[in-house]
């Protein structure tokens, strides 16, 4: 399994043809306490960069973009009752949705962990 990052602070885990998407620990820290998460419907076709989910904190509501294109096959239903999972475990239990990868070449646009860390340090 390999992990990729976007400059919009999403992470993508790729396993075979399946990508799991969430927001990074840095993002949850910036947002503050998350109070609501809206995930896409299963079956939604997302293009790379499309609005995929909404995350709302005590500070602001933010869009979460589809880091790669594909069809949503599973969403994290835990987030409906426990949006705080995104704070406590942003990069594991607080995942948002899974999709089938439409185009693996899109992964080339993303950062690896080292590049993302350097990107965040520069902010």
């Amino acid at each position: 399994m390999s992990r990729y990052y976007t400059d919009e602070h999403e992470w993508v885990d790729v396993e075979g043809d399946t990508a799991t998407v969430g927001i990074t620990d840095y993002a949850q820290e910036q947002l503050g306490d998350i109070v609501f998460v809206e995930v896409p419907d299963v079956g939604t076709e997302l293009g790379q960069g499309d609005d995929a989910a909404v995350v709302e904190s005590v500070k602001a509501a933010s869009d979460v973009y589809a880091a790669v294109s594909g069809e949503v096959i599973e969403v994290n239903e835990m987030l409906e009752d426990e949006p705080g999972l995104v704070n406590s475990s942003a990069e594991e239990d607080g995942w948002f949705f899974r999709l089938t990868l439409a185009d693996k070449d899109e992964l080339d646009d993303l950062m690896d962990e080292k590049a993302y860390k350097a990107f965040v340090d520069g902010l």
């Binding site: 306490d33 609501f36 709302e56 705080g84």
Partner: protein, 527 residues
Amino acid sequence: MNMLAEGRPTKQEADLIMPEQNAVTTHTGNRALMVDEPLIFEIGSPDRSGVDLPESPQVESRLGGLEREAPIAIPGLSEGEMVRHYTRLSRQNYAIDVGLFPLGSCTMKHNPRLNEKMARLKGFADIHPLQPVESVQGALELIHELAEWLKLLTGMPAVAMSPKAGAHGELCGILAIRSALEARGDAREVILVPESAHGTNPATAAFAGYKVEDIPANKDGRVDLEALKARLGPDVAGVMITNPNTCGLFEPDMKAISDAVHAAGGLVYCDGANFNAIVGRVRPGDLGVDAMHINLHKTFSTPHGGGGPGSGPVVFSEALAPFAPLPIVEETDDGHFRLVEEETADEHHSNSFGRMVAFHGQMGMFTRALTYMLSHGADGLKQVSEDAVLNANYILRSLETVLDAPFAKSGPCMHEALFSDKGFANDLSTLDLAKGMIDEGYHPMTMYFPLVVHGAMLVEPTETESKAAIDQFIGAFRSVAERAKAGDETLKSAPHFAPRRRLDETQAARKPILVWTEDEDFAQAAE
């Protein structure tokens, strides 16, 4: 220490005795005239009532077993108890009639009492929207005259008076854009919204069925013209720009933006919520704007924020005027006024996209807004915007030595000054500073908006504050900002002196208690 020169002396830190450390307590828990008010359900008793009602007659039930089994749980209060309850609550509230209300982007200006007097005139206050048109000629004339003022001030040929507030006006404008594009057989999909726009703009475009795309801000906090031009194309229906923008800056490229959008076949919506900064100085029509809402409840001093309903008339360019919603008030050749509604629209307004509201708009606000315009006159309205801009710049320049002002070098601000949390020590945040301002007796400024600035604080004093009042505010703001920069721990638990201490906003959003039940431990929930 130069506090005296800057207004109200605030307490020295050593004197900041926290109430919980204060040994003096009261039997009731109240503090002098500040009463700890229970919920209305906790005061009431079913055997009390504000009115005497006759015993209800015994009738045979026809509800087929669906009768209520338990008594209906509404609070029973005498009239006196009810009046006291709401009066006590209102004393814990903060309002424009209590003090300076620096909420950026909201234009919380003084609501002149003359407006109220005029709005209570029987001929305006005691009429019904379904009355025969001949019997409300004065009210229609008032709406017509207000419309003429709005057209004159904006340099635009048409106006829809009915939208009920800012976001409703935005929707009205975007629906007109959609109608105009569809009428020429060129329905498009995308609305561009710069980062410096109001948060309602992308929501409006999405609600109207458009795909929303962001346009980045440049380093000055303004629309990146080149990025906008690069994105324009046959799929772009239009652009929604807030000018002056949410960084408190005028968009000097507005005309170039409009020209580029028009050249690409799109239309320009301007969010006019910040019109207060430019009224009498700039006519949006000259900048190529096709539609703009005007918040009568901001620029033209009608009450809002709990004090009254909003009102958001929308002005239109020649291109959009035929699509404006009904009803429209028209002056006839013989000096009378008539309403163009569905029944009469075919004659010369058949392209109207429909109706935003059932009736004619916020009559009470129309009366107040026109009173404000007539009492200021054209020269007075120009001075309104000049004073609003002067006051905001006075705050910006007075505080930029203490607080980071990210766009201070972009030139003068308009009607609001923007600061960031850069330099706060000990993990103190904008939220902590805002809570500290409550202790100082002020409603906090707009915070964490706009999003382009970290820990944003957006301050709008409006033109109705005196220099003395602004100096007091600056003194308080500076004092709290210095505490934030020094890492003062007591700010983390502010407010110390408000009727309630820091509320658990996270739990309030995640698990709000919306229904009162007798068993809930409200004392605990409230703290």
